[in-house]
Amino acid sequence: MSRRHPDDEALIGLLEQAQLASAKSCPLPRRHLGKATLAILIALRVYVILAIPVVAYAFIHALSLGTK
C-alpha cells in the first residue's frame, strides 16, 4: 500500500525510524564476542549436545508408555 496524503505523512512521522518496516530489513551487525561470552556459548553447545539425546529418549520412552 502506498499512501501520500499529507495527513498520512504526519501520521507516519509518529513512528521512530527503527519502527518502520523498511528499517527492519537492515540486519544489525554481528556482535563481537568476548572471552566470557564465548565460554558461555561453548558451555551452551555442550549442554545442547547432552540435552538432545535426553529429549529423544524422553519421546521414545513416552511413546512406549502410550502403547502399553
Binding site: 501520500r4 498520512d8 513512528l15 527503527a18 518496516a21 540486519p27 529429549v55 513416552a62
Partner: protein, 442 residues
C-alpha cells in the same frame, strides 16, 4: 524520514501510536494503560495453558491449601523478572527475539533457537487442543466439534489482519481465565488457611518426597517457558511500544503476572476438596477428569466453570503459542512478521500459524495418536531447553550496543542470574526425574 514507501504495517502501527500520544498528552493515564497493556497480560495468561492448569489442579488435589500457594506467587515473580527483560529488548531494538539472536550471535544459535521453539511449540499446541477437546467432552461436545471450534477461533482472530484487534480478541478470551476464581469460591475455602499458608509456607503434607519435587518443577515449568520470551518481545515490537512506554510495559507485565498467579492459586484452591476427600487422581488424564471428580464436591456450577476454564486455557494458549512460532519463523527467514500485514505480504507469518494449528488439530483427531507421549515430552523439552533460552536472553539484555542505555544493571543481573541458575537446575532435575525416574526412586 522518507515516507514515500511506507506500508500498511507502518500505517496501522502509526494509527495506534497516535492514540497513545493523544492519551499521554491529555494525561489520561488509565486510557494509556488500556492502550499499552496487552503483551504482558497475554503472555502470562497464555502460559496458564491447558497443561499448566492441570498441574495446578494436581497440586491442589495432592497437597491442598498450603506450601504451593506462596510458591506459585514466587514463580510468577520470577516470570515477571524474566519477561520484563523482553519488554526492554523490544522497546530498545524494535526487533523480535529470534532476529536478534540470528543477527547478534550468528546462524548456529539462530537456527538452534528456532528449532527448539518451533518443535516445542508444535507439541505444546497439540496439548492445547487436547485441553480444548477434554473440556468440550465434559459438556458432551464431540471431539471433532471442539477441535473445529478451536481452529476457527484461531483462524478468525488472524483474519482480522490488525495487531490491536487480534490482541483485544485474545485479551477478551484470556479474561475467562478468571473463571477459576468463582470455581474456587464454590469450593468454600477457609480464608484463615490461605492466610496461614501465605504466612508460613505450609503445611506440606507428606514432606519433601519425589512427588513434591516433581510438582515443584512442574509448577516452575508452568510459569516460565521459551515461547513466552519470543512472544512478548515480538508482540511489544508489533504493538509499537517505545522507550516512552517502558513504564506501562512493565505495569502490563506485572498486571499479567498478578492475574495469572490469582487464577493459578484459584485452581489449586478449587481442586483442594479432592485432597480433603482423599480422591485418587493417579489415573486422571486431563482437566475434564478433574471437573468430573469435583462435581459432587463443589457442585455442577463450579465443575462447569472449571471445565470452561480448561477450554479457555487451551484456546488462548493456542492463539499465543502459534503466534510465537509465526513471529520467530518469519524473523529467522527475514520475512515480514506482523499482524498488521495483509495476507499477501505476510503469507509466511500467517501460513506458519495456520499450518501449526491445523497440524495440532489433526493430531488430536487421529485415532490412537500418542497424545500422552507428546504431553510428557513437551514438559521435558520445555524445561531442558529453558536454559539456553534464558542465557541468550541475559546475553542480549546485557548487549550495550543494542540496548542503548536500557541494558541490565547489576541488580537486574543478580536477580536474573539467580533465576537463570534456579530454573536451569530445576529444569535439569525435572528432566532427570522424568527421563530416569529409577535414579531418584520415583
Amino acid at each position: 524520514m522518507n515516507h514515500e514507501n511506507f506500508t500498511r504495517e507502518d500505517y496501522l502501527r502509526a494509527q495506534d501510536r497516535q492514540k497513545v500520544q493523544q492519551s499521554r498528552a491529555a494525561k489520561n493515564w488509565l486510557r494509556l494503560i488500556w492502550l499499552l497493556a496487552g503483551p504482558g497480560v497475554l503472555v502470562m495468561l497464555g502460559e496458564n495453558d491447558g497443561p499448566s492448569m492441570v498441574s495446578y489442579a494436581t497440586t491442589g488435589a495432592t497437597y491442598g491449601v498450603g506450601f504451593f500457594i506462596p510458591f506459585i506467587l514466587l514463580t510468577f515473580a520470577m516470570a515477571y523478572v524474566v519477561q520484563e527483560m523482553t519488554v526492554r529488548l523490544g522497546v530498545a531494538t524494535h526487533r523480535g527475539h529470534a532476529e536478534l539472536i540470528f543477527q547478534r550471535f550468528g546462524p548456529f544459535w539462530g537456527y538452534f533457537a528456532i528449532a527448539d521453539l518451533v518443535f516445542g511449540n508444535l507439541l505444546t499446541l497439540v496439548t492445547e487442543f487436547i485441553a480444548i477437546q477434554a473440556g468440550g467432552l465434559y459438556f458432551g461436545i464431540p471431539t471433532w466439534a471442539s477441535v473445529l471450534g478451536g481452529v476457527l477461533v484461531v483462524f478468525t482472530s488472524m483474519a482480522l489482519r490488525r495487531y490491536a484487534t487480534w490482541e483485544r480478541v485474545a485479551l477478551t478470551l484470556a479474561a475467562c481465565n478468571m473463571l477459576f476464581i468463582p470455581a474456587a469460591l464454590l469450593a468454600h475455602p477457609n480464608p484463615a488457611a490461605i492466610a496461614h499458608a501465605m504466612a508460613t509456607w505450609g503445611p506440606l503434607p507428606g514432606g519433601m518426597g519425589t512427588a513434591f519435587i516433581t510438582l515443584i518443577l512442574a509448577n516452575i515449568g508452568a510459569t516460565v517457558t521459551p515461547w513466552m520470551i519470543f512472544f512478548q518481545q515480538s508482540a511489544v515490537v508489533d504493538k509499537g511500544l517505545t522507550r516512552a512506554d517502558l513504564a506501562q510495559g512493565r505495569i502490563d507485565t506485572a498486571l499479567g503476572a498478578g492475574l495469572a498467579a490469582l487464577a493459578a492459586i484459584a485452581t489449586v484452591v478449587a481442586a483442594a476438596p479432592l485432597f480433603a476427600a482423599h480422591t485418587d487422581i493417579s489415573q486422571f488424564a486431563s482437566g475434564a477428569d478433574f471437573a468430573t471428580a469435583l462435581k459432587p464436591l463443589i457442585g455442577s456450577t463450579g465443575a462447569a466453570l472449571f471445565a470452561l476454564g480448561i477450554i479457555e486455557a487451551g484456546l488462548v494458549a493456542a492463539m499465543t503459542i502459534s503466534t510465537s512460532s509465526s513471529y520467530a519463523l518469519a524473523e529467522a527467514l527475514s520475512a515480514k512478521h506482523s499482524f498488521n500485514l495483509d495476507f499477501a505480504s505476510g503469507w509466511l507469518f500467517y501460513g506458519a500459524a495456520i499450518i501449526a494449528t491445523l497440524f495440532a488439530a489433526a493430531v488430536v483427531l487421529i485415532p490412537g495418536a500418542p497424545l500422552l507421549a507428546m504431553t510428557l515430552t513437551v514438559n521435558v523439552i520445555a524445561t531442558l531447553l529453558m536454559a539456553p533460552a534464558l542465557l541468550l536472553l541475559l546475553l542480549l539484555v546485557n548487549d550495550r550496543a543494542i540496548m542503548a542505555g536500557l541494558h541490565n544493571g547489576w541488580r537486574a543481573n543478580l536477580a536474573g542470574g539467580a533465576i537463570v541458575i534456579f530454573i536451569c537446575l530445576a529444569g535439569a532435575l525435572y528432566g532427570i526425574i522424568t527421563v530416569f525416574p529409577h535414579l531418584v526412586g520415583v
